[in-house]
Symmetry: C2
Subunit: 288 residues, 2 copies
Amino acid sequence: MAGLASVIGLLHPGEMGSAVGATLVAGGSRVLWASEGRGARTRQRAEEIGLEDAGTLERLARRAEVIVSVAPPHAAVDVARAVAALRFTGLFVDANAVSPETAREIGRIVERGGARFVDGGIIGPANRRPGAARIYLSGAEAARAALLFAAGPVNAVALDGPVGAGSALKMAFAGWNKGMQALLMAIRALAAAEGVDQALLAEWRISMPEVPARSERTIHDNARKAWRFVGEMEQIARTFAQAGLPTGFHDAAGEVYRRLAGYKDTATPPSVEEAIAALLKRVTREGS
Amino acid sequence: MAGLASVIGLLHPGEMGSAVGATLVAGGSRVLWASEGRGARTRQRAEEIGLEDAGTLERLARRAEVIVSVAPPHAAVDVARAVAALRFTGLFVDANAVSPETAREIGRIVERGGARFVDGGIIGPANRRPGAARIYLSGAEAARAALLFAAGPVNAVALDGPVGAGSALKMAFAGWNKGMQALLMAIRALAAAEGVDQALLAEWRISMPEVPARSERTIHDNARKAWRFVGEMEQIARTFAQAGLPTGFHDAAGEVYRRLAGYKDTATPPSVEEAIAALLKRVTREGS
């Protein structure tokens, strides 16, 4: 990692990972991925953005100077362990939605394997619109790691903070954004359960006119991604606990997303009525 | 209660109660209050809006055809019990922020004493600006009770629903409004605890530009009222539980407001920094 360009291993080019991969490729790096055990859609995305298939994690770790981990929160520690087991001695960038404590744990794992560590958190939608998303990096080599992202579309921001700061920022941002959206969906479900849904919408139109549409957009935009947010809410609750703050907001948000997890991979988002029925754990009639 | 005007007992003309009282007076009713055990500020408000002092609850209950209860959530059941013990046989309107279940319990209490019951919930700020607040009423006599409020400034809406609907609507509205604000304050505290407060504000300015100012307004507007919201959050959590929804959002919101309860009756709202320190249960230096 003398200059900007490096050989970088990307684990894994999923939806957000491919936006990160496209950024690293745009910056002039050779970006490897490991197809072993990954699905057809991941391969398609990897080829589309110009990644090289190293085949296995082992070959990827041997060739890469930098590894960037973009995984669901529950898998983040396992990815780090697998890389550490291969005695990877380059720079490991964890870009996952995990608590600062989990980030520090991941750092210790990869450092014991011989790597250096940068903590990161990605904020913004998983698309390749320039400036849509930012990766916040922290730790001693944050500024150097940020150079790899200089070309965008994902922008990098090196925080003036230790390992944990990048993850903490992600937890705070998502804690509001996804916590608030889970609460709003739960409120719609509560009003429906009590038979006052229409009255609530009418009151909102008077006093909070943007909320009716926002509540429906929230259901539309989040139901199919809800399965991914369950682990993230757990990490946020842990972050709250570490700071001596109550965990209930995100324990509850996790439960809301868990009840919507069945919409993973559905062709279209559920209607508001269907989502509310799922949140209330009511069985909807077939075809309804 | 043959026409619009009645003799109405108001328990009690506090901040929100006096907006309700002014409405009832404007509608042509004689409105009584009971000064026994109430403070100087309540007396001042009562006189200002033209209420007649019945002295004791007993004399109030003997003379009133209608009693309207506007009390903190934790006191709502006690007010109903005291009225029922006096064998009040008129119409009892509970306008408190309680769960539908608590509203139904209050209904049973006053009905056992011989009264008729209307369930209500007030939404909106405690001021006398016309149309600022609405009282939602439910139960068999909701439409008749609504007539008493016809002159405003507090508007009445009779819901087409049973006892419980008025309270449920209040719980849903406040569950979003006050739950969301508690979450936002907790997020500011989390970011401060992790040293990423400035970074979070900078990210919000990019992706959610209205949130930095909203988070500060939330602290400014709510800290001194927080003590009143603790019981309300408990009622909302119970409402969630009854609907089979997770209680954590409002368990946590209750804890947030509890940590701010010390700002009751302070001359000025706390600064953002002070409020954050209270949320993190950190002791701030004197004079800081």
